[in-house]
């Protein structure tokens, strides 16, 4: 079993002699993306022209389909099939796992007459063209018997229960310490339902050759999608070839398969021709997952010097009635600040809304919106700078587990950020700074997000021309996976980047867990690194064992790889010469990574600090970002350019979280009132002004052999709280209900007589 001690040994990536690691090289697939020639799932050219499928979705939150009239749709021009629960081909019952090793169970589409949420698929129409399919779908008449539905979260707290297999975590005596604390905060914060709104709606194109189905789909997890389709269709997973080469955004919302995958495969089999299906934007809002609303009560007790004595974060959230997802909004707080007496936990309400699920930084993203404001409130009560308060509660060891931190640079993130942002310009007394009608203020917040390593494999091949191809069942959802895999492979094998090809997103390739939980780079990258190291060993053996190689008979331990040349001191040849002569069919090896047995002896996270300056319009209550800066510590950075894009993208999600993003529930239908991109307000270009970020130098040798960590989710953690705190500093109005839209801000200003 691997130990983190093994990972601390120098290796080609940490030595970085070629200088490829860390360099801000252009995105590997960038030229394809800027020319529109990267084929996303729905763009894929099938062996013959596809038929087009369109979903028909439920208009009630809970009940039963009593009848479906498909006659008009079936008679409509170009229609090839109309399916409902009455005539959809047989699928394995929901939850079936015929192969116990399947990563996902059966999830049939149109599986019964039950309606469990608004927007659930209830019928499916396939026609020769999109126009005909869409028109025919409008002709399907569905009648329902509606049943009482729970769709009002705030009115349903009496139904909240502990999530499955979960208890509150008590350390010390929170209640006693809180009662005795000289300075306390007891406030409740609310983060609403939010939506991923990936630019690319879910889509699949499927075709069959004999018993085998090929699907090009938009999914973050290759194996999960392959297994789900195989289980649902009750076929061996070896008969499912799933490809997902380019993905138009995921953010957690495409971590699971949806009905486009199942129904396109079923229809392609029935019609004996390719079928493609895409969700409409409106269907995306209901038919895929969302981030659930979270109500968070934070209680802090402190000494007058700011040291926390009592600390409680309790989150109440919701998920679909038949599901088990919990937004763990309190988890992050278990590792952030020292306090001897602690209480953290979650409550879950089962509701008849569309499914809740993971969205960028699940847990941290809504959770930090509470505590990071509460700390701001406490700092003001204590007359302390918010950074100083956090420094005074900086733990030496993990405050919950007592484990040492692998590395923790939170304080440096805050102090470095304060200096670069100009935190000293902040007037600690709120409501003092004006710029015409704009009230101006600054806020900050800390960021923490866990770091994870999962088991993964990768394959790497060198051909007779010296070109190295990395293959992995991994995905790139815009994160930069292609690029960092190319960089890791190039540096590990000492070849120029131009000699490396990367092929991912294919279920035939060695499996990696996919993109999610900001574990992608570390997990897939470490497997690629191990595969590269195995290829180094194979090439070394080849060279020293080949009488025709200048390296013949040389000591293997002195072999170097640099700039495409394998050498022992001044005896050298190019990799192309070596492989072309001694292994003209090329060499293919695989490598794998697993978590080290002792990695769990460390508390391991990524950290950051956000600084924001906002203007609040005193007349309209509108909040405008004026400046935002973040400093982050997330291990060794593989690509300065793509990592920064990831982290600033996350910060901008924080801006949306704080100011605009909310899915309002229509209590009549259990639907979202706003279900398109004009009314779900993701940030647009004009919303983002003067926003930048930097990374601290760091290598976390407890993380993996390269000392890298994830950056995809850290940027959103805490970002919205920095803006909320800036709004308070600007106005003296403390809002605890996200997003902080003009109506709420204006009401606060008016209540203060402003």
């Amino acid at each position: 079993m691997t130990s983190v001690r093994d990972w601390a040994e120098p290796n080609p990536v940490t030595e970085n002699r070629g200088g490829v690691i860390g360099k801000g090289v252009d995105r590997y697939e960038g030229a394809l993306k800027v020319t529109g020639t990267a084929p996303y799932a729905y763009d894929t050219v099938a062996p013959s022209p596809p038929a087009i499928g369109v979903l028909v979705t439920a208009t009630i939150p809970r009940g039963r389909v009593t009848s479906v009239d498909t006659a008009a749709a079936e008679a409509a021009p170009g229609v090839q099939l109309v399916w409902t629960h009455l005539n959809v081909p047989a699928q394995a019952p929901r939850g079936t796992r015929a192969n116990p090793r399947s990563q996902r169970a059966s999830n049939p589409a149109l599986g019964s007459d039950r309606v469990e949420y608004y927007g659930q698929s209830v019928a499916f129409v396939v026609a020769d063209t999109f126009e005909n399919a869409r028109a025919a779908a409008e002709l399907v008449k569905v009648a329902y018997a509606a049943e009482p539905a729970v769709v009002d979260f705030m009115a349903s707290f009496d139904q909240a229960t502990l999530p499955p297999d979960e208890e509150d975590v008590h350390i010390g005596d929170f209640h006693g310490a809180f009662a005795a604390a000289p300075v306390t905060i007891d406030e409740t914060y609310f983060s609403p339902i939010q939506n991923h709104v990936q630019m690319e709606p879910c889509a699949t194109i499927a075709w069959w050759e004999g018993d085998k189905v090929t699907v090009h789909t938009s999914i973050q997890m290759v194996k999960g999608g392959q297994h789900a389709l195989a289980e649902t269709l009750a076929i061996p997973s070896s008969d499912v070839h799933l490809l997902t080469r380019y993905i138009g955004g995921g953010f957690g919302g495409k971590g699971q398969p949806y009905d486009d995958l199942i129904l396109s495969a079923l229809a392609a089999r029935a019609l004996k021709r390719p079928v493609k299906v895409a969700y409409t934007r409106q269907q995306m809002f209901h038919g895929t997952i969302h981030r659930p609303a979270v109500d968070m009560r934070v209680r802090l007790g402190a000494e007058p010097n700011g040291r926390l004595t009592a600390f409680a974060v309790e989150a109440t959230t919701h998920c679909a009635r038949a599901a088990t997802f919990t937004e763990h909004a309190a988890n992050f707080s278990r590792n952030l600040y020292a306090a001897p007496n602690r209480l953290t936990g979650h409550r879950l309400v089962r509701m008849d809304l569309p499914h809740a699920g993971p969205m960028r930084a699940p847990g941290e993203a809504p959770g930090m919106l509470s505590l990071e404001c509460a700390m701001d409130e406490l700092a003001e009560k204590l007359g302390l700078d918010p950074i100083e308060l956090r420094i005074r509660n900086e733990p030496d060891i993990d405050p919950e587990t007592g484990k040492p931190f692998s590395i923790r640079q939170l304080v440096r993130c805050m102090t470095e950020g304060a200096q670069r942002f100009g935190w000293e310009r902040r007037n600690p007394v709120p409501g003092q700074v004006r710029d015409g009608r704009w009230m101006v203020g600054m806020g900050m917040a800390a960021a923490i997000r866990g770091n994870f390593l999962l088991p993964a494999k990768a394959g790497v091949r060198i051909d007779a021309g010296g070109i190295i191809t990395l293959r992995q069942g991994m995905t790139d959802i815009g994160t930069g996976t292609y690029t960092i895999l190319a960089q890791i492979t190039a540096e590990t094998l000492g070849v120029p980047l131009g000699h490396v090809r990367v092929e991912i997103g294919d279920s035939d390739f060695p499996p990696a867990p996919g993109s999610g939980g900001q574990f992608g780079a570390a997990t897939a990258g470490s497997a690629a690194f191990e595969a590269g190291m195995n290829l180094r060993r194979a090439l070394t053996e080849l060279a020293v064992g080949d009488p025709n190689s200048p390296l013949y008979g040389g000591p293997a331990e002195y072999v170097t790889f640099e700039n495409g040349v394998i050498a022992i001191e001044n005896r050298s040849e190019t990799l192309a010469a070596l492989v072309g002569r001694a292994a003209p069919d090329g060499i293919y090896v695989e490598g794998s990574i697993s978590p080290a047995a002792d990695a769990r002896d460390y508390s391991q996270h990524t950290y950051g600090a956000h600084f924001a300056e906002v203007g609040v319009n005193q007349v309209t209550g509108e909040v405008r970002l004026r400046k935002m800066f973040g400093v982050f510590a997330a291990g060794r950075i593989l690509n300065a350019k793509t990592a920064k894009s990831q982290i600033t993208g996350g910060m901008i999600w924080g801006v949306g979280t704080a100011l605009t993003e909310v899915n309002a529930v229509d209590p009549r239908f259990g639907s979202f009132v706003n279900q398109d991109m004009a009314e779900y307000l993701a940030p647009v270009h004009a919303d983002i002004v003067d926003l930048d970020a930097m990374f601290l130098d760091e290598a976390d040798d407890k993380a993996n052999p390269m000392g890298i960590k994830g950056v995809g989710e850290l940027g959103i953690a805490g970002a919205g709280a920095a803006i909320a705190n800036a709004i308070y500093n600007a106005t003296g109005v403390r809002l605890r209900d996200y997003p902080m839209t003009p109506d709420k801000v204006l009401a606060g200003l008016m209540a203060k007589g402003l």
């Binding site: 993306k33 800027v34 020319t35 529109g36 999109f130 815009g478 894009s645 991109m677």
Partner: protein
């Protein structure tokens, strides 16, 4: 219904369902899948193409309205190995992540730069009689019809800044 359009310099005659949008005509009938469908409601900008040099949301436009029009799509701007300057700037500045909004952003940029050169005003334009100065605020305002959920906005601004030059 027969419609003739010139796409990326080549005249194409299509005989398709009159309900076909320009976007679906390009994607489904001409194989030009670079233009993307993000919302099909003209809200996201991923389908932006240039019609007679002017940027439009091709999902909101019926093909039959464009008989005789000149359409430029992302494929018509440049190809890998021979990138258009806007494509090159987006690549160098990492003004993209998932890439799905990118063709629309780039077509929109090309159209926007021409609009500014032609003196079209925006909400940010203070002096309607003076030549348009492409300040950062102008660029942000004029590019706000193209949503990037990955939120590459700072890099998109930097890429356009490279092309528009430094403006006070």
């Amino acid at each position: 219904m027969r419609t003739t359009i010139t796409v990326n310099g080549t005249a194409r005659t299509l005989d398709v369902d009159p309900r076909t949008t320009l976007l679906d005509a390009l994607r489904e009938h001409l194989g030009l899948t670079g233009s993307k469908k993000g919302c099909d409601h003209g809200q996201c900008g991923a389908c932006t193409v240039l019609v007679n040099g002017v940027r439009i949301n091709s999902c909101l436009s019926i093909l039959a309205m464009h008989d005789g029009d000149q359409v430029t799509t992302i494929e018509g701007l440049g190809q890998p190995g021979a990138l258009h300057p806007v494509q090159q700037a987006f690549l160098e500045r990492d003004a993209l992540q998932c890439g799905y909004c990118t063709p629309g952003q780039i077509c929109s940029t090309v159209g926007m730069l021409q609009e500014a050169a032609d003196g079209w005003a925006s909400k940010e334009t203070a002096d309607l009689s003076a030549p348009t100065a492409l300040t950062d605020a102008e660029i942000r305002e004029r590019m706000s019809g193209n949503i990037c959920r990955c939120s590459a906005y700072p890099q998109i601004l930097a890429a356009i800044r490279d092309l528009a030059g430094e403006v006070a």
